[in-house]
């Protein structure tokens, strides 16, 4: 589902990604781990084309992310759900309005959008908080709202950037369990994280990054690189 071949990204003097090659299969769940500045966030930004790769090929569901633009890029983004590190929920909109956004951009009618939003809020445990503004939510609730927005459009791929950061271990586990549940529906899931406990506990595929390169890739890995 996700293929990177020889991908390089540079910010002025900083080499953020250096000749990265990687493949993640359909429906797979993988952790992307590494120290700050290892290139995890850059990789996610390249996958959603928030940034452009300087070199290399990125395929997502067979579509060359580096080559698409305009309507094709819009269609591609509708196939991807993203949980941003800072959640990026719209501060002036309610939780329900934030979650509804990916469906509204597709021109969904009000009734079906409302039904889908209610359903996903129920699934993430925010059924009663739909009318709240993000500033009235706790850290864990904010992440759940961000996950709800990411999955409401039934994406093929779910990309999460530090979804458990600053959360207590309990809350962190709750968030990852949610992600696993959506992964169980067939959504290819890539989670960039610093959370040792969760990575070590789940024993899933772990891709280690260091200084912009993939340093190891274990099908059943732990947080510390081998």
């Amino acid at each position: 589902m996700i293929v990177l071949q020889g991908v390089t990204k540079r910010y002025d003097d900083l080499l953020a990604l250096d000749d990265v090659t990687l493949a993640i299969g359909r429906g797979e769940f993988a952790f992307l781990v590494g120290t700050n500045g290892a290139g995890k966030t850059t990789l996610i930004k390249l996958l959603i084309r928030e940034e452009r790769a300087d070199r290399g090929v990125i395929l997502l569901g067979g579509v060359d992310v580096t080559a698409v633009s305009g309507a094709a890029l819009t269609r591609l983004r509708r196939r991807i759900g993203v949980v941003f590190q800072d959640t990026r929920l719209l501060p002036n909109a309610t939780v329900a309005e934030n979650v509804a956004l990916p469906l509204q951009v597709r021109g969904g009618d009000a009734a079906s959008v409302d039904a889908a939003v209610r359903d996903v809020l129920q699934r993430v445990g925010l059924a009663d908080l739909g009318e709240r503004r993000p500033r009235h939510l706790s850290g864990g609730e904010l992440r759940k709202a961000a996950i709800a927005r990411a999955v409401v459009g039934r994406p093929d791929v779910l990309l999460c950037d530090e979804p458990t950061e600053s959360l207590s271990p309990d809350k962190g586990r709750e968030i990852v369990e949610l992600l696993l549940r959506f992964n169980g529906d067939g959504v290819t899931t890539l989670v960039a994280t610093h959370d040792r406990d969760i990575v070590d506990h789940l024993r899933r595929r772990v891709i280690h990054m260091h200084a912009g390169r993939i340093s190891s890739d274990a099908p059943v890995g732990v947080f510390d690189a081998p």
Binding site: R77, V82, L90, N92, L101, P102, V105, R106, G107, G153
Partner: protein, 303 residues
């Protein structure tokens, strides 16, 4: 089937765009009220200047109309030739009015203007005053050329009198006034547009993350832009409406008073002019608000 689904999706999107614009107007009300007030102040300033400029222009035109050309008709001139010339002059550009003054009318005018010397005329056997053709001008700039042409008609006229110094001065004042007025209107329009567009740009900048997010979840450019353009148009139109209402109230209250105090100023006390100005102001606000938003959002759409 597919096109019906697309049409429905477009309708839902249009509904979303309108609702989102209305919501954003309310939710960002502090910033929007600031933008509306800024727009109103700038448009009031621009409209007030347009009104002042129009008054000055009217004044110069009014003074120009007072400039007369008097051509004294020869005794032996054929009346039919004079009549034909009067008709021709009436059709000339810049000419407001052409009047043939008979000998009798000239005498009556003299008597009314020089009452104390009126008995001097009684000493004369006949009326010594010649008939004349008098011209009032819309545009004093056309007067010198016209005077030259009439002087060339020695078969019809003895003399052609033109207050050239006044004409030249009025022409010069008129030209300077128009040039300065036009330059000021252009400059002030530029400043007004700059301030309004920048106010909208700041409001859009504050919500740039919203634009980025919408793009990243798969919104088309128009889906993102639509609410902003509607919101900008609404801000511009509301600001302009406030400006127009203020303008109409001030004009209705102040114009008659100013016209009474400064009687020589050609201030129109009817509201027709200011109504046009109000409609113009609202249209400017609407268009500038919409275009300002359109271009302000564009720079953040490249995500």
């Amino acid at each position: 089937m597919r096109s019906k689904a697309a049409t429905l999706a477009n309708l839902h999107t249009a509904r979303y765009v309108i609702t989102a614009a209305a919501n954003a107007l309310w939710r960002n009300r502090t910033m929007n009220v600031g933008a509306i007030i800024t727009t109103a102040i700038m448009l009031i300033t621009l409209a007030a200047f347009l009104a002042i400029n129009d008054t000055l222009d009217q004044m110069v035109v009014g003074l120009g109309r007072k400039s007369n050309l008097i051509a004294y008709v020869r005794d032996e001139a054929r009346p039919s030739a004079i009549t034909e010339l009067v008709r021709d002059l009436q059709r000339r550009p810049g000419v407001a009015e052409v009047r043939y003054v008979t000998k009798e009318e000239a005498l009556a005018q003299f008597r009314s203007q020089f009452v104390e010397q009126a008995d001097l005329l009684d000493l004369l056997q006949s009326n010594p005053l010649p008939p004349s053709v008098e011209l009032r001008m819309n545009d004093p700039a056309a007067l010198p050329a016209l005077a030259g042409e009439l002087r060339g008609r020695g078969d019809l006229f003895d003399d052609v009198v033109v207050p050239l110094d006044v004409v030249e001065r009025l022409t010069s004042i008129s030209n300077v006034s128009r040039a300065v007025g036009t330059a000021m209107v252009i400059a002030l329009t530029g400043v007004t547009l700059f301030v309004i567009v920048n106010t909208i740009r700041i409001a859009v900048y504050a919500r740039r993350q919203e634009i980025e997010i919408m793009k990243l979840v798969g919104a088309t450019d128009w889906f993102v832009r639509g609410p902003f353009v509607l919101e900008g148009a609404a801000i511009g139109a509301i600001g302009a409406l406030l400006a127009a209402i203020t303008l109409v109230i001030i004009y209705a209250q102040a114009a008659p008073t100013v016209a009474r105090i400064i009687a020589f100023l050609p201030i129109s006390t009817d509201l027709e002019f200011v109504r046009y100005l109000a409609v113009f102001t609202v249209l400017v606000g609407l268009v500038v608000g919409a275009l300002g938003s359109y271009f302000s959002v564009r720079r953040y759409l490249s995500v």
